[in-house]
Point group: C2
Chain length 336, copies 2
């Protein structure tokens, strides 16, 4: 079937140990020999068998990544960042999609464990991290993604949603708005609660009011529903700015305002969204939004993982928390 080092060695007229050296430490081999071996490799189309390599070496050059939602752009960006960072280090990333199911997550953890991955990046589906702790205790590096580890059991990379909420509202007060509404829910979602907390703090500091308009989900439809309610109010009782917990809500608000033609954005009501989805820029009024550095998250997670692998168990577990950034567009600052 596939050609092995043995055949390469035979063709090149050297021993298989030399072929291995050409592959792994070419500087330890005489230039002429290297050439001969490489010619043989090319001629036979030899491709190294990673299983054998890994079995012998005891360690793998693959890392696993388990994401909560493979269809979510945030996670595809995280994956992309991880992939890129891994590739420069000669690592490959196996991506699994748990779809928020603890069972599926478990299946992937098993799979990765059987493959003896160098480490695991995981955005956990539930609160039961016991299985991951066991893994880590057995020597597999584990980094939590998009979840701040509350204890010292795991390294983690996450984004500071409180800072994101603060950023949004500081921008709104900065452009002179004082009657601000926060649209979002359910409040049980940690991200929603954090963004609200940051928003509330920033509003209080600036002497602005923050009215909370709860939603049952983070969808365009819910945004439109709230938008309809707001535009039905007398102009004097409307907020002069809205911070939506995500972009879908914000787009729904925009639709309600623009479709009716009753509320001008941003003149009467400025709108800030969250996530900076691809669609934010293409909204009827391009949307100001809080962007999460998803690719950086993935990149950094790989770096923490590599550090753990290289420095072993004893390493201090880092918790990296990224600060989101504000992307200003016409939904808060009109085009000149």
């Amino acid at each position: 079937m596939a050609v092995s080092v043995r055949e390469v060695a035979a063709l090149a007229g050297v021993s298989l140990g030399t072929v291995s050296n050409v592959l792994n430490r070419p500087d330890k081999v005489a230039p002429g020999t290297v050439d001969r071996v490489q010619a043989a490799i090319a001629e036979l189309g030899f491709v190294r068998n990673d299983s054998a390599r890994q079995l012998r070496a005891g360690r793998s050059s693959t890392v696993g990544l388990i994401v909560l939602d493979g269809g979510n752009p945030f996670f595809t960006d995280v994956a992309r960042g991880a992939e890129d960072a891994a590739m420069t280090r000669g690592l490959a990333v196996l991506v699994g999609n748990s779809d928020e199911s603890a069972d599926r997550e478990q299946t992937y953890v098993d799979l990765f464990e059987e493959r003896r991955v160098a480490g695991l990046l995981v955005s956990p589906a539930g609160d039961d991290l016991a299985r991951l702790e066991r893994l880590r205790d057995q020597g597999t590096a584990v980094v939590l993604v998009d979840r701040r580890a509350d204890d010292d059991h795991f390294a983690s990379v996450s984004v500071d949603d409180v800072a994101g909420g603060r950023l949004a509202v500081e921008h709104l007060t900065g452009i002179g708005r004082r009657r601000i509404a926060f649209v979002g829910g359910p409040s049980g979602i940690r991200q929603v609660a954090d963004r609200h907390a940051g928003a509330a703090a920033a509003a209080a500091e600036a002497g602005a009011t923050l009215e909370v308009l709860p939603t049952t989900s983070l969808s365009v439809l819910e945004g439109r529903r709230i938008g309809e309610e707001l535009q039905a109010r007398p102009a004097t009782e409307r907020p002069d700015a809205v911070f939506a917990a995500n972009d879908l809500l914000a787009v729904g608000l925009e639709q309600a305002f623009i479709m009716r033609g009753s509320v001008r954005v941003p003149e009467e009501v400025a709108i800030v969204g969250y996530d900076d989805i691809a669609f934010a820029e293409a909204a009827v009024v391009p949307l100001t939004s809080v962007r999460q550095p998803a690719q950086d998250l993935g990149r950094r997670a790989i770096e923490l993982l590599v550090a753990q692998v290289e420095q072993g168990q004893g390493i201090a577990l880092e918790h990296v928390e990224f600060t989101p950034e504000l992307v200003v567009r016409q939904s808060t600052v009109p085009e000149r």
Copy 2:
């Protein structure tokens, strides 16, 4: 480090061959022994080493999938379908994102080849399939995804874009529209050309006209530009329906029509998009769109791959072409 079959065998008081049998052919082992071995496995937390297994077995239980664009919902759906189908067969899917770069694609092909994957699912970045042919000649099963293989070199799964274009225009003529416009471009993109061809055929059959409005890209902005042009025309010179080559264009058209308030959708102009992106349903006027069975594509690709693996080289190469389906919403048929 990790525990091996040897240690399990020692603890259970059997030989390592028996442990292997418990793992792979439990029915060949006495029930009592099975229990004892499994107790030992549980106690030691034994996890089988897949590298060793694969090295010995000569075959792998992983398949590689290389997609053109990891951020594109179409491909995340394909991946999801492939993952699900693979999982039920005990296969794992390694997903690589070529990002339309032939180089990146090559890197992943190399990676997968080193890992001796059972097969490769790939939506090729370029037209040079020579490398893939070599792979296939060496015995690795290859299935082309989202690209109809023009020859008998590869099995393939794709979606019939001509049928999709036909579907869209038949719907429009079916609701009585006769002056139809096709918005899309550049025409060099195969999907665009096919969708147009289907649309033209359907229009001709129904005795409708099909005006072509070319775009430089498939973006919301381009859609909005065309929309502005159309709404500036006298009502009598406007088409009574538009078929857009994708949903982004369609959303841009809608935005231009609705924002100006000058053209009613669907009364004056009906709009059909393509892809049925998540946003289509949430558009200001929910968008009628042509949906591609992306998950089915992924699932079927795995099935073709498995067939090749099981039946070997001699198998007749299948070309599965899916027919898209129309999702009707208010942009063509008003709510009652």
